[in-house]
């Protein structure tokens, strides 16, 4: 049996849980964990909630979807998350520009950490206040080659498209490793 995982991340309230729920065959399990920052003594603990979703592929392969909290303390979770990880989805709430700065920070952190393929999903495109995907691309300073997909997390089809595009990118990265 082989387990692989895709990480779904993004700022608070972006729709990560909803995204995972749309395609998971099990009820999404949210967990809360305490993580202690060794390097810092100012703050003793941070509560971290993680979502798990599961998609069974066949007898030998299971895909897990992990929903992270926002970027805060993400560095401590990197090791746990990177184990068996194929790639990331970064979800952004298209209707809340106040979260774009954090989303940019998350993206830059990821890019600093690892060359894992990722896609960005402009979620909540059904909202009246949603920014257009191309405006979000500029607001997040995404390279033209980074895939940015419109998404409505509650609609399974758009979630499938996001995951498929990520998998296509992963296929490409196997053909032509970046680093």
């Amino acid at each position: 049996m082989q387990n692989v995982k895709i990480v779904v991340t993004g700022p608070f309230n972006a729709g990560k849980t909803e995204f995972i729920r749309s395609v998971s065959e099990i009820d999404v399990v949210s967990t809360e964990r305490k993580i202690t920052a060794e390097a810092e003594k100012i703050k003793s603990s941070t509560t971290v909630a993680m979502d798990f979703g599961r998609i069974t592929v066949d007898d030998e392969l299971v895909l897990y979807l992990f929903g992270t909290p926002g970027q805060k303390r993400f560095d401590f979770m990197w090791e746990i998350l990177s184990e068996g990880m194929l790639g990331f989805v970064v979800l952004v709430d298209s209707a809340r520009p106040e979260t774009f700065r954090e989303a940019r920070g998350i993206l830059e952190t990821f890019r600093a950490y690892a060359p894992t393929p990722y896609v960005v999903a402009a979620n909540k495109q059904d909202c009246d206040d949603a920014w257009e995907a191309e405006d979000i691309r500029l607001a997040l300073r995404l390279d033209p080659q980074v895939k940015l997909l419109p998404c409505v997390a509650s609609q399974k089809e758009t979630v499938k498209t996001v995951l498929l595009e990520l998998l296509y990118s992963i296929l490409e990265s196997i053909e032509t490793p970046a680093d």
């Binding site: 068996g84 106040e98 690892a114 894992t116 206040d129 390279d143 998998l167 196997i174």
Partner: protein
């Protein structure tokens, strides 16, 4: 679809940056606590900026920049009550009072002045409307946004925000190959030039800071301004392995790996 938000979350400089990169045409309205501004853009260039209930007809603007006196402005306004700025401008130029350059210089100066005032707004609802062109009768100018973006970005000094924008100084900077992003058109200050000299995918920002004797805040501030102006982008320094390489799949062979991904693709398609 909206392009709407609060300056608190998406700064005026960032809006300018977006308009510049997307080469947008339309009207941006910004509603501050006590004032409202309307700013018009054409193909990503500033065309006209108006603020509040301020007198912004051509004669008032010419008086502001001392091309004419306040008294002259009043007389002109009285005599040309039914005329548009364009008509008034033509009249003044044809009558030999002013040159075309005088008129354009004054208008540019005024729009830039309005933009500078907006840099100081920390609060305000903005909205971009692609369907509103420069009002007929007004004289549009054409001002590149890059320098204004640099000016606005320099004013960001908040440590926390800068750290969020640039989380890691181990990243390098690289000049963008975006057409139009030309250093020569930018008015950089001395510190910025010092950083620009070291911009190279091989040099991390930390190394640039060391070479230029800057602290973390200073290097972040300058890098942020250059990033905002679209001159540079952040890249992982060449040759240096990522902080923590992903221990993804066990290093199976390429074909196995591909077939695994293909199985996932087929499964998700069937959902």
């Amino acid at each position: 679809m909206a392009l709407r938000g609060n300056l608190r979350d998406f700064s005026f400089t960032q809006i300018l940056n977006l308009i510049n990169l997307a080469q947008k045409t339309g009207m941006l309205t910004v509603e501050g606590p006590g004032e409202m501004a309307r700013i018009y853009f054409r193909d990503g260039k500033l065309a006209l900026a108006l603020i509040g209930r301020e007198e912004n007809d051509l004669s008032a603007i010419l008086a502001r920049s001392r091309k004419i006196t306040a008294n002259q402005a009043r007389v002109i306004r009285e005599r040309t009550r039914m005329m548009t700025d364009k008509e008034v401008g033509l009249l003044l130029i044809n009558a030999g009072y002013l040159s075309q350059k005088d008129v354009f210089d004054s208008l540019q100066l005024y729009s830039i002045e309005v933009i500078r005032r907006l840099f100081t707004w920390v609060e305000g609802i903005f909205q971009f409307d692609q369907t509103s062109p420069v009002p007929t009768g007004k004289i549009p100018v054409r001002i590149d946004l890059e320098n204004l973006i640099m000016e606005g970005s320099r004013q960001l000094r908040e440590w926390e925000q800068l750290q969020e924008e640039i989380p890691s100084l181990d990243m390098a900077l690289k000049f963008t190959d975006r057409p139009g992003a030309n250093l020569r058109h930018l008015n950089l200050n001395l510190e910025e030039w010092r950083v620009v000299r070291y911009v190279n995918p091989k040099n991390s920002m930390r190394q640039i800071a060391q070479a230029t004797h800057m602290n973390d805040l200073e290097i972040r501030r300058i890098a942020y301004a250059l990033l905002q102006a679209g001159v540079v982008e952040m890249v992982r320094p060449g040759g240096i392995p990522p902080v923590m390489p992903p221990r993804s799949l066990p290093p199976v062979n390429k074909e196995e790996h591909k077939s695994l991904i293909q199985r996932l693709i087929n499964r998700i398609r069937s959902l």
